[in-house]
């Protein structure tokens, strides 16, 4: 092998490698060290021992348990809901010809918006103003529902807003991916089925769904991973003090431990981040196993 070329290649790779080592590989090792250093003091850089105390602290912290509960509810509601809804919309979208591009463009809009900014719009849609109960409550009143404070009120109301906003935010990606998957199904299958006189529903369940099932599984897996990492959408709606509003997520807990009013505990943050990673990893492995056995 040409030695000069060898050296040149490493020179080309140097910047990427340097950034990767400093900001990815070293932190990965470091996070495990932080997580086992007990009673680590940020100011004096000292700790009392090595052990699993940080994990036990985090797992007994009511704020963390609340965050885990919130995250799981969010994941279990939004992933099936958004995937199903996206499937419905994509099927509708690929069955029409006129205005298809327009609809596609509109549906994709939430992807390119700043989640913090649009989250504020969602907040004011649900939030009462000085003399009115807010837009959503006014609409609900038409159906005889009494007004609820969706932003500072009962837990389920806040959870509802959180889930709705999450679904609104994740839909564009799912619709886009599903529409292109549907477009790539070979037309011949449909024509053959139509000659056989199969009903639309039968064509959908027997041809379309099996053909796009790898895409659906891909979306479910990325959906789970994304929803487990929810954080900035919640900040947008409920503000930065998520513990106070009871709407924190696991990622939010990690950042709160690191920085802010309750911050300064990198050990607890690391332990929580590792727990999150283990949860996401386990769920992804389960997902992959299910998708493989169903093939």
């Amino acid at each position: 092998m040409d030695y000069g070329n060898n050296r040149k290649a490493w020179l080309y790779l140097l910047p990427a490698l340097a950034f990767l080592l400093v900001f990815m590989v070293y932190p990965l090792v470091d996070v495990c060290i932080y997580a086992v250093e007990e009673r680590f003091n940020f100011a004096s850089q000292t700790y009392t021992g090595i052990g699993l105390y940080n994990f036990s602290y985090v797992l007994h912290d009511p704020f963390f348990l609340q965050a885990v509960k919130n995250t799981f509810i969010l994941v279990l509601i939004t992933v099936p809901l958004s995937t199903g809804l996206a499937l419905l919309i994509s099927v509708g979208l690929s069955s029409i010809e006129r205005l298809q591009r327009l609809y596609q463009t509109v549906f994709f809009l939430p992807y390119v918006t700043n989640t913090l900014a649009v989250g504020l719009v969602f907040m004011i849609l649900f939030k009462p103003t000085e003399y009115s109960p807010g837009l959503v409550n006014t609409l609900l009143a038409a159906f005889g529902v009494s007004p609820v404070d969706f932003i500072e009120g009962p837990y389920w109301a806040k959870m509802l807003v959180m889930c709705l906003y999450t679904v609104w935010v994740v839909m564009p990606f799912k619709i886009l991916i599903l529409t292109s998957a549907l477009a790539s199904v070979n037309r011949d299958y449909y024509n053959a089925a139509r000659v056989d006189g199969s009903s639309k529903w039968r064509i959908f369940t027997r041809i379309t769904l099996p053909m796009i099932s790898p895409t659906v599984f891909y979306l479910i897996i990325t959906g789970f991973i994304g929803a487990f990492k929810a954080y900035s959408d919640e900040v947008a709606i409920f503000g930065t003090n998520l513990n106070e509003s009871g709407m924190n997520t696991i990622v939010g807990y990690v950042y709160d431990m690191l920085y802010g009013n309750s911050g300064g505990y990198p050990s607890f943050a690391s332990a929580a981040a590792l727990i999150l990673f283990m949860i996401v990893f386990t769920v992804t492995v389960i997902n992959l196993t299910v998708s493989r056995t169903s093939d």
Binding site: P15, F23, G92, Q104, L120, Y255, A273
Partner: protein, 291 residues
């Protein structure tokens, strides 16, 4: 005669059923379009209402007879919104520029150069793609703090300039360019660097543009890292500025001015999207996340 009648009747019901199905489809699609667009409409509408009119509404008003631009003035004078804008612009441009250098060189090495351990190293890069940001953020925060880079642009930029996925995308694209071009360039005595910038990059421009646009969107929306690394308003990006404005600024009582700020912050990306609609959607379907 009777048979012909049956036939037309069957055809008519079939056509009617088809029309009904179409109408339901269009209705449902329009319903979702309404749900998507309504927040945008409400945001623009609220930004045009005068604060007094907004606060004294007994029930929400769906249009305004006397639109005013005063909220936009308040948004820019009440908080250093133009400062946040400039910061975000600098941050975005610098990140994209540094990232391009890093990933183009790396992608070139992986696609065109031969060296020992290439496959192993590439597998290692791919494995790193699975590491979530949350896992490395603690140490990066400590690193940047110990380098005294909090509240600096470098502190904001450095951790986000490598993107393995974009290296992967570019490498795939570079490999599609025929070997003959490279050999011809070598025969002519062209250096690798010159070949890369005068031959390869112009050919692969579409992919580069896609990567740039996706990164711009990512930078414009980034919130978590900037929040950790900046606590001086002078270095806030738009996301942090919006959040700050909502919690400690005029956002608490002056919703219309807050919505004006939201419009200003959202507009650039929407314009970018309308200009590069095809590129963005294609790029996201090849390599987007978020969802």
């Amino acid at each position: 005669m009777k048979q012909a009648n049956d036939y037309t009747r069957i055809e008519r019901t079939a056509r009617r059923r088809e029309t009904a199905r179409k109408s339901v489809t269009y209705f449902l699609l329009s319903l979702w379009a309404l749900i998507v667009l309504f927040p945008f409409y409400w945001m623009v509408l609220s930004s045009l209402k005068s604060p007094g009119a907004y606060n004294s509404e007994r029930s929400p008003v769906f249009f305004t007879a006397s639109p005013t631009l005063e909220n936009y003035g308040t948004a820019f004078t009440g908080v250093p919104l133009s400062r946040y804008f400039t910061n975000t612009l600098i941050f975005t441009l610098a990140t994209v520029a540094v990232m391009l250098i890093v990933i183009i060189l790396a992608a070139y090495a992986f696609s065109r150069l031969e060296f020992r351990g290439k496959n192993a190293l590439f597998s290692f890069f791919l494995a790193m793609m699975m590491i979530p940001n949350e896992l490395v953020v603690t140490t990066n925060f400590v690193t940047i703090t110990s380098w005294n880079m909090r509240n600096t642009f470098w502190g904001l930029i450095l951790p986000s300039v490598t993107s393995i996925f974009y290296i992967y995308l570019l490498k795939e694209n570079f490999e599609q360019v025929p070997d003959e071009l490279y050999k011809a360039a070598k025969v002519d005595g062209t250096s690798d660097l010159k070949y890369l910038f005068t031959v390869l990059l112009p050919i692969c421009r579409p992919t580069v543009v896609t990567v740039v646009i996706l990164k711009i969107i990512e930078c414009w929306n980034s919130y978590v890292w900037p929040r950790l690394i900046t606590d001086e308003q002078a270095y806030f990006l738009v996301s942090n500025g919006i959040q700050e404005l909502r919690e400690n600024g005029f956002g608490r009582e002056n919703i219309p001015a807050m919505m004006a700020a939201v419009v200003v912050v959202s507009a650039p990306l929407i314009v970018l999207f309308l200009l590069f609609r095809g590129k963005i959607m294609e790029g996201v379907s090849r390599g987007g996340t978020k969802g």
